[in-house]
Amino acid sequence: MATASDARDKNWFIDKFFQSLMFVCGISAIVFVVGIFLFVFKEGLGFIVNDMNVAEFFFSPKWRPTSLHHPTYGILAMVAGTAAVTILAMAICLPFSIGAAIFIAEFATGKTREILKILIEFLAAIPSVVWGFIALSIMNPFIITAFDVPMGLGVLNSALILALMAAPIVTSIAEDAFKAVPDTYREAAEALGATRWQTIRKVVLPAAKNGLLSAGLLGVGRGFGETMAILMASGHSINIPTSVFDSFRALTATIAAELGETAVGSPHYQSLFAIGIFLFFITFLINMTADFIVRGVKKG
């Protein structure tokens, strides 16, 4: 029965068109993630199946992919370097970022708060190669004179730079965590006679701890994934660092520095993709954990 009410006019088609367009945009994120993963996996697969010795890959510090007689592919030194920098960077970054977040969320008001938030976002907008500049031209001579060491590129330099780079994201996630603590808790604690600091320490921090944990984890993810600044700040020599002044090489920096010089499809080329897969799993794991923790907060 055809009545005027089921006539499909122009608006009906426009509506349908935009619905489908939005749907495509919405699922494109999933498509890209899966696509990237498949590509990286496909490129690295040959190495994993044919050339990789699992024990050597994970437990040998010798990365000599270009050796003519006996190439070895050990990422232990790079994992150790990346992990050391990430841990040190977080040790520097977390107290500062959480302190900043406490100030912004709990103490600052009005203009101060807005200006601080803008400045912190501005910090996040600095390109990583600029951070690399700072590492090379400011931090490097500074570390050499301040600690009287022959070279200022290495774990300490990279960790300082990484701490600064991770600070904005950690601060803003930590601030969100404090914002998510209901104001009634603060009111209750203050009405019982708690000072601002007692309220923060005994009520707000415990209530926000899951959010803070996930802020830290995202910072760690940032540390594992950062490439350019670390490439410039690390000294880039393959070495298991034993002091904060030692040079090291990051997993990501290895890919960035070597990929352009390998023959496509060669074991060296494929081994770099295997490192990529490894990094992919690590950051995926970290982000998933952070996500689950945040969800846990909302339920509890």
Binding site: A189, E190, L192, P206
Partner: protein
């Protein structure tokens, strides 16, 4: 200094109290003498300033940052707006119960001990703390319901009525002399309301209680004196039965007969 009858010492005494939120004036020339040891209820339509007044007695209003005050509030003969007054000390004397029960996200036991631990520098032994917890929970008639789950989170498994009783109980260990209650039953069902009202009546005498309520029946049955506020001003303050039976102002009569509000 006020020289009214010495038999009825005052819990709260305000003189020419004016309060502004930014540029909006919420309270006008409040002069109230609230007696010790009795329950005084504060009634009036929404926005009449009754909660504002209540919240300025323990200065919790100041959290907002844009509140300005002129005049004086004396709590137990001490003007609480003098510069040397410490908020922590004031709030030890004046406890506050909020509209929605707001237990802290810690265990029932830690909720009760929160104020006690803040106001005592040296830590008490476990047996002392146990005694404090039991005493506070018995005073609010909650001990038997929760004694087996004191270490459970206070926000889980308690009814709203039990939470509100817990919020009253956690004020008691620091031995306040005044309890302020901002519509303490408005989030509760009738059964919970009855139970909490009974508890408030039970606490009468030991504490001076000032209770804001929307519910006129509640004011009538659960308070000894009653204050009627309108548009930021006090219209009438008298014994509860007098205020409800023979109000002296037309506005009061109109309000209690439900003609507005």
């Amino acid at each position: 200094m006020n020289t009214s009858d010495a038999a009825q010492p005052l819990a709260i005494n305000t003189r020419e109290l004016n309060l502004w939120y930014g540029t909006f004036q919420a309270l006008f020339d409040i002069n109230l003498k609230i007696k010790q040891g009795i329950i005084t209820s504060l009634i009036g339509p929404s926005g009449c300033g009754k909660s504002t007044f209540l919240r300025s007695v323990d200065r919790i209003n100041e959290r907002l940052g844009y509140v300005r005050i002129k005049g004086a509030i004396e709590v137990l003969d001490q003007n609480i707006y003098e510069p040397h007054v410490e908020l922590a000390q004031l709030r030890k004397q004046v406890g506050m119960v909020f509209q929605r029960p707001n237990p802290l996200p810690i265990s029932i036991r830690d909720n009760i001990l929160f104020g006690h631990r803040i106001h005592n520098d040296k830590t008490s032994s476990k047996s002392e703390e146990d005694a404090i917890v039991e005493d506070a929970l018995r005073q609010v008639l909650l001990w038997d319901q929760v004694k087996d789950r004191l270490n459970q989170k206070a926000s889980v498994g308690l009814s709203l009525e039990e939470m509100q009783k817990l919020c009253i109980a956690r004020l008691l260990p620091v031995k306040p002399s005044i309890l302020l209650m901002d519509e303490p039953c408005s989030a509760l069902d009738p059964k919970g309301t009855a139970a909490v009202e009974e508890l408030i009546w039970e606490l009468r005498g030991r504490y001076s209680i000032l209770i804001v309520t929307h519910n006129m029946a509640q004011a009538r049955r659960a308070s000894e004196e009653c204050i009627f506020m309108l548009m930021g001003k006090v219209v009438e303050h008298s014994r509860t039965e007098e205020l409800f039976v023979t109000p002296t102002h037309k506005e009061t009569a109109d309000y209690i007969e439900g003609r507005y509000g």
